[in-house]
Amino acid sequence: MHQPPPASCSRSSCCVCARVGVRVSALAPAAAPCPAPSRSLGPRPPEPPSRGTSTLPLAPLGPWCSPTGSPAPLSCETGCGEGSWILVCRLLVPTQVSLLSMEEDIDTRKINNSFLRDHSYATEADIISTVEFNHTGELLATGDKGGRVVIFQREQESKNQVHRRGEYNVYSTFQSHEPEFDYLKSLEIEEKINKIRWLPQQNAAYFLLSTNDKTVKLWKVSERDKRPEGYNLKDEEGRLRDPATITTLRVPVLRPMDLMVEATPRRVFANAHTYHINSISVNSDYETYMSADDLRINLWNFEITNQSFNIVDIKPANMEELTEVITAAEFHPHHCNTFVYSSSKGTIRLCDMRASALCDRHTKFFEEPEDPSNRSFFSEIISSISDVKFSHSGRYIMTRDYLTVKVWDLNMENRPIETYQVHDYLRSKLCSLYENDCIFDKFECVWNGSDSVIMTGSYNNFFRMFDRNTKRDVTLEASRENSKPRAILKPRKVCVGGKRRKDEISVDSLDFSKKILHTAWHPSENIIAVAATNNLYIFQDKVN
């Protein structure tokens, strides 16, 4: 049942002290670089002009640099221009029954009630809503609209079946969130998984955070391949034995069993968000994480579920004055005191938690001035940032707005250092896209492991990759009709005007219901996961 939310502790004085206490412990690791998974810097992009002194020290070189400082060749450094991409496997998020995909079943009745899932067609509940590799790339987690999490595991390399390397198979499936009813507000809370974030592995078990609109949960996924046998008081079926019938004692032994993967919820972080959670981000201290909704960002300790600290609050005293919401937030990969959040007005704020308890005043403010020649009534909507991601090096942030992907240098606030057009041919169609609400679609963006290539989705099941070094880009398609396993993906092209060539597709033929919103890139290899409604495509660079 609904309980009153725990105190937004930043408000009462005793909790301010407690928060300082928490931050003191976070400060200690900040003095020395926080332990973070090693990342390669890859080929360094040309140094942008720096303004003034940097407040953030450069990240240390990763292990993949040779001692002379020049990066060693990496599989992921081949970029998108030199390699070709092949389809490794297409995975359907398993439903209880038939594997019909949404493409065949044009009936788009919204079926949110769980009892109807027993019917033999894929439902809207199977639409994938988030995709995330873990830190080693061994596991790939997806969340769907039905509140389920499906974890895929990479096929182990074996000499006999070399061709199967790179395939991912289902490892675990569990129901993370159920639909809830908020009795106080008479509202149904959607069970759709908005984000999944992995924790770095510290023991044999895997941990991940998954969140819906209101509640974050910490899940532990562990394997069991042995079970005890030979109890004295229980028989093999588990029934209690009458002690009078026991004549001998034996020691129970562990016997191998079929591998079982079990997922258990270890923490539930609830009742801290009035608005819809759009982001979660694990801090590099691995002790805290943040959750962001439309107006507030809260900081949590993994061990404490009944308290969270509010670190950003942009709710105006008078809701009529509300003109801007938070759209995404992320911690810096190495500096556990630093995070960024983006807004619906196309701005990014970088905050330092050491500066003050409430980070309403930013340390840096990133915004590009509006191009007067491109001004329209939709300028603000298309400038709204749908995703923000730090580079692995921590030197750059990437933002995705409706038509472009931008790379920003943390030292330069007045404009991005790179801007990539994702689908500029839509600029003249904004009114239609406003009418059908497509203009509000929230696309995500990802870096590759070496920060040399960035990827994002588009419509018609297209997704785009941009090589930051060669400045080349490619458009690929994730669709069943066009990909046979192991076949090389053919680059696609959208014809914007004039004569349409044979392989091109015209803008008016694009299917706006087929949108690639969620993608993920393996942390160290050229393996990508692309979610298209209820299909998960895994592609691999053929150069491997």
Binding site: K185, L187, M319, V325, S344, L358, F377, S384
Partner: protein, 241 residues
């Protein structure tokens, strides 16, 4: 014309809206990329169709049991821009069908965010002063860089001031019917006075609203107390606030 045939409709209601929009879309000359005016100058005058569309979107957004705040804010801001550029003598759109209206109010009143629902309630009340809409076209010059929060909006325009007069029907239908299936103990207080006196605006509108003549001072004070009390629970004042 510009939508692919694979596009799927979300809800049946949009079928009716679609027919209306197709008629209205014709005069969106400024969107035609071939039109010489478009590439050179940004559109300074919106067609009323875009305004209608935005109002419908606002309705749709508010109709949700829990509105998507981002969608709402973006639509409202766009509507502001459009409204600011429209000629003073724009005629208002035809009212959407009444069935939409009670559900809007239902959901608004059920929202537990007291300030949001109160502000929306105040704006519904403001609709009876619909002349306010046509009297304040803003020059585009003071739009300023879009990223910066613009200074105070003109006092006669709240965030959601642009709802069509259709919601005035709410007052005609009477409020009792809306609460049949809701536990009305919460609403039996003076806050929710029946139609004869109209919906009460929130106290924070006080300084800016010139259009609330029938408000009783005592009722305003009572409302103020309740809302301040509610807000105190939610956000006790802290440093820097």
């Amino acid at each position: 014309m510009m939508l692919s045939k694979g596009l799927k409709r979300k809800r049946e209601e949009e079928e009716e809206e679609e027919e209306k929009k197709e008629d209205l879309e014709v005069d969106a000359w400024w969107l035609d990329p071939g039109h010489p005016a478009v590439t050179q100058t940004p559109p300074t005058v919106a067609s009323s169709s875009l305004f209608d569309l935005s109002v419908l979107k606002l309705h749709h957004s508010l109709r949700q049991s829990e509105p998507d705040l981002r969608h709402l804010v973006l639509v409202v801001n766009t509507l502001r821009r459009i409204q600011a550029s429209m000629a003073p003598t724009v005629t208002l759109p035809p009212v959407p069908s009444p069935p939409i209206v009670p559900s809007v109010a239902d959901n608004l009143l059920a929202s537990s965010d007291a300030t949001l629902s109160t502000s929306i309630a105040s704006l519904l009340e403001d609709l009876s002063h619909i002349e306010g809409l046509s009297q304040a076209p803003q020059p585009l010059a003071d739009e300023g860089p879009p990223g910066r929060p613009v200074g105070a909006t003109p006092p006669s325009l709240g965030a959601l001031d642009l709802l069509s007069p259709a919601t005035g029907c709410l007052l005609d239908d009477g409020l009792e019917g809306l609460f049949e299936d809701i536990d009305t103990s919460m609403y039996d207080s003076e806050l929710w006075v029946p139609a004869s006196e109209g919906l009460k605006p929130g106290p924070e509108d006080g300084p800016g609203k010139e259009g609330a003549p029938e408000l009783d001072e005592a009722e305003l004070d009572y409302l103020m107390d309740v809302l301040v009390g509610t807000q105190a629970l939610e956000r006790p004042p802290g440093p820097g606030r």
